[in-house]
């Protein structure tokens, strides 16, 4: 098996779909000549040409709308945002248009559109660090996909491209990995090396709405995505040494959400910690707690613990950013609280 970084895995999935289906096109800032700010799309312009790889002006609302119009007329566009913070420039196009067209047309329209880009706190200050998924999780008509490993990223981007709905595909800057040129620093957590780095070369699709149990355990369940998944796995390693058996579930997509896998785990462990890098208030963690309450209340032996970012714009200073974003110690503390009642 091959070792691929996450950005290389996403790239391979996109390239294979573009080879297989000429209706797939790519739009975004610096995606062609420059190969993407995080090099996910490098060399694609050479292979597919300017008729399929569109280097756009800095017009997020405009090129999102172009993607929608192209999706409505037979193409499968992938729209890249240089940082996912910039998708807020296109909120009307995403929330009022892409997400609503299917219902407004009485099911006559389909909008096969992937909106993708990087997020995550990496020392870039408040406008290049935010986790955006909760806004779109709150938007009926959208799907929200969260790849945490290179294996998942390839299978999920292929499913996202093949899906007939608008899909937000969220990439974490710290997970891109050193295996890709310009991919930034590889995550040093040992856990990321341990799972899912083998990526088959042949195309494969991971269905949206299928969670993955990244680590089996019996005492407590952690539900986490993206970088927080890897920090949770680190916590699971640490606590194993103390004789605590932690199960770690990666939902892989927040919409649709695989409630069945989560509920089965909670029925086994009776203790839950939800972890998310987005802010706590009305965030992903809030929704997960409510979902567990709805489906698993009588399986719980203790209140669900929630670990999420502090409700603040993300500050620049490294110490402050660390304080805002959940760290390994925060997750470990929450697990111990969950088990202490």
């Amino acid at each position: 098996m091959r070792q691929l970084g996450l950005s290389a895995a996403i790239r391979e999935g996109i390239v294979q779909e573009m080879r297989a289906d000429e209706s797939v096109i790519l739009l975004g800032e610096d995606v062609g000549k420059f190969g993407g700010a995080f090099h996910v799309t490098h060399d694609m312009l050479d292979e597919f040409g300017a008729n399929r790889i569109w280097d756009t002006p800095i017009s997020e609302a405009g090129f999102t709308g172009l993607g929608i119009g192209a999706a409505l007329t037979g193409l499968r566009p992938i729209v890249e945002y240089q940082y996912l913070d910039f998708i807020f420039c296109a909120m009307d196009q995403v929330v009022n248009q892409a997400a609503k067209i299917r219902l407004m047309s009485g099911g006559r329209a389909k909008t096969p559109l992937v909106l993708r880009g990087p997020q995550g706190a990496t020392g870039r200050g408040a406008q290049h660090s935010q986790s955006v998924e909760a806004y779109f999780m709150h938007t009926p008509g959208m799907k929200v996909v969260m790849p945490s490993t290179p294996f998942d990223a390839k299978g999920l981007i292929i499913s996202a491209i093949r899906d007939d709905n608008p899909v937000l595909f969220v990439e974490h800057k710290l997970l891109y990995g050193a295996a890709s040129p310009g991919g930034g620093k590889a995550l040093s957590d040992s856990a990321i090396q341990a799972i899912g780095v083998d990526v088959p070369e042949t195309p494969y699709a991971i269905p949206l709405g299928s969670a993955d149990v990244k680590r089996q355990g019996s005492d407590v369940t952690i539900i986490a995505t993206l970088l927080m998944l890897h920090r949770s796995l680190t916590v699971a390693d640490q606590l194993a040494e103390q004789g605590i058996s932690v199960e770690v579930i990666d939902p892989r997509s927040l919409v649709p959400l695989d409630v069945e896998t989560i509920a089965a785990s909670v029925a086994k462990t009776n203790h839950v910690v939800v972890v998310s890098e987005d802010t706590a208030r009305a965030g992903v963690s809030a929704e997960l707690v409510a979902t567990i309450n709805d489906h698993c209340f009588y399986d719980l032996e203790a209140p669900v613990q929630r670990v999420a970012a502090v409700d603040t714009p993300i500050p620049f200073g490294p110490a402050a950013e660390r304080h805002v974003i959940p760290q390994v110690d925060d997750i470990r503390g929450a697990v111990l609280r969950a088990l202490s009642d």
Binding site: W54, L66, A71, T73, L75, R102, G106, G107, R108
Partner: protein, 335 residues
């Protein structure tokens, strides 16, 4: 503040135009007019759900533009979109059923007046957030380029929309890439209560195209032949690969902004003057003057337009109501 646009009442110059096309234009304008007049009456007298925005007086823009297109060319529309749909051959019965929130409606009763859609007719949707359809039509133009289909995409929008950011973003990209797009400003002179002069620093809206090096035209929007001619030129340019065009069609919204909005911000004299410049009657006069039709023939079309709308209403009333859980299958597509 009152309108400063010149009001023309002269007959439309029909010389050299195919009588069959003129008659079709006349019919389509009448159908659009009758559709909305009956809708207004239905709102007054029956339990119609929701709201609606009439384009009474603006029909020459929709019909003139669409008459210059092929059936497989695409358009985007707005909250004031009935006439665009009529022009694009969306079935009147399905349109009317949609107004009544019936399952047989254009959008299965899920969209309503402001979201009429019919992909089988190249009607990509009515987008009721001002300006939002502009980049979407531009995407349809980009798609036509990618697929090599030879199609042209048209976006209709009002004078208010030119002050939305997406207008500029989309026009820039279309001009930059010479996309086969046509942008139609239906300048009815009022964005709800605000005149063009009160909301745009430069009231010549067509001139906005200059910043993008885009050909542009101002036309008499109550002259369906003038609109048609300008659009045909734009279509030829688009199909030849020479890029987009911005057309500003000067017209007037005879009714208020929405349903029962009384438009008290406009002088009565102004409204009356524009009523006397009715685009349908100007075409009728022009057709008779050019010998393209007789008054008797035109009267027959008037009667037929009334009948076809009566039939549409009767059909709509016989359709089945949307049930409470119909929407559940329309939220997301199943691959």
């Amino acid at each position: 503040m009152t309108s400063t646009v010149e009001i023309r009442r002269d007959p439309v110059d029909c010389s050299g135009k195919d009588p069959a096309m003129l008659l079709r234009m006349f019919r389509k304008m009448l159908e659009a007019r009758e559709f909305e007049e009956q809708l207004y009456y239905l709102f007054l007298t029956t339990a119609m759900p929701g709201t609606m925005h009439q384009a009474v007086g603006q029909e020459a823009v929709a019909v003139g533009v669409v008459s210059a297109l092929n059936a497989d060319d695409t358009i985007t529309s707005t909250h004031r979109g009935h006439a665009h749909c009529v022009a694009k051959d969306v079935p009147l019965k399905e349109m009317m059923a949609e107004m009544f929130a019936k399952r047989e409606g254009s959008c299965r009763g899920m969209g309503g007046s402001m979201h009429l859609t019919d992909f089988s007719k190249g009607m990509l949707g009515a987008f009721a957030i001002v300006g939002s359809g502009i980049p979407i039509a531009t995407g349809a133009a980009l798609s036509a380029r990618v697929r090599g289909s030879g199609q042209v995409a048209v976006s209709f929008f009002g004078d208010g929309a030119v002050n939305e950011g997406v207008f500029h973003e989309a026009l820039n990209m279309a001009a930059l890439w010479k996309l086969p797009a046509i942008y139609i400003i239906e300048n009815n002179q009022y964005a709800l209560s605000m005149t063009v002069e009160e909301s745009s620093a430069v009231p010549n809206l067509a001139s906005r195209a200059c910043a993008y090096g885009m050909p542009n035209r101002r036309v008499d929007g109550n002259d369906v032949v003038a609109v048609y001619d300008a659009t045909r030129e734009a279509v030829e340019r688009a199909r030849a690969g020479d890029g987009p065009t911005l057309i500003e069609a000067l017209t007037y919204r005879i009714r208020g902004h929405a349903r029962f909005e009384a438009a008290g911000y406009r002088p009565e004299k102004e409204v009356e003057a524009w009523k006397a410049a009715d685009p349908i009657e100007r075409l009728a006069a022009g057709m008779i003057a050019a010998g393209a039709a007789t008054a008797v023939e035109l009267n027959r079309v008037r009667a037929e337009a009334e009948t076809v709308i009566e039939d549409a209403i009767e059909y709509a009333q016989s359709c089945s109501d949307v049930e409470a859980e119909d929407y559940l299958t329309y939220i997301t597509a199943e691959n």
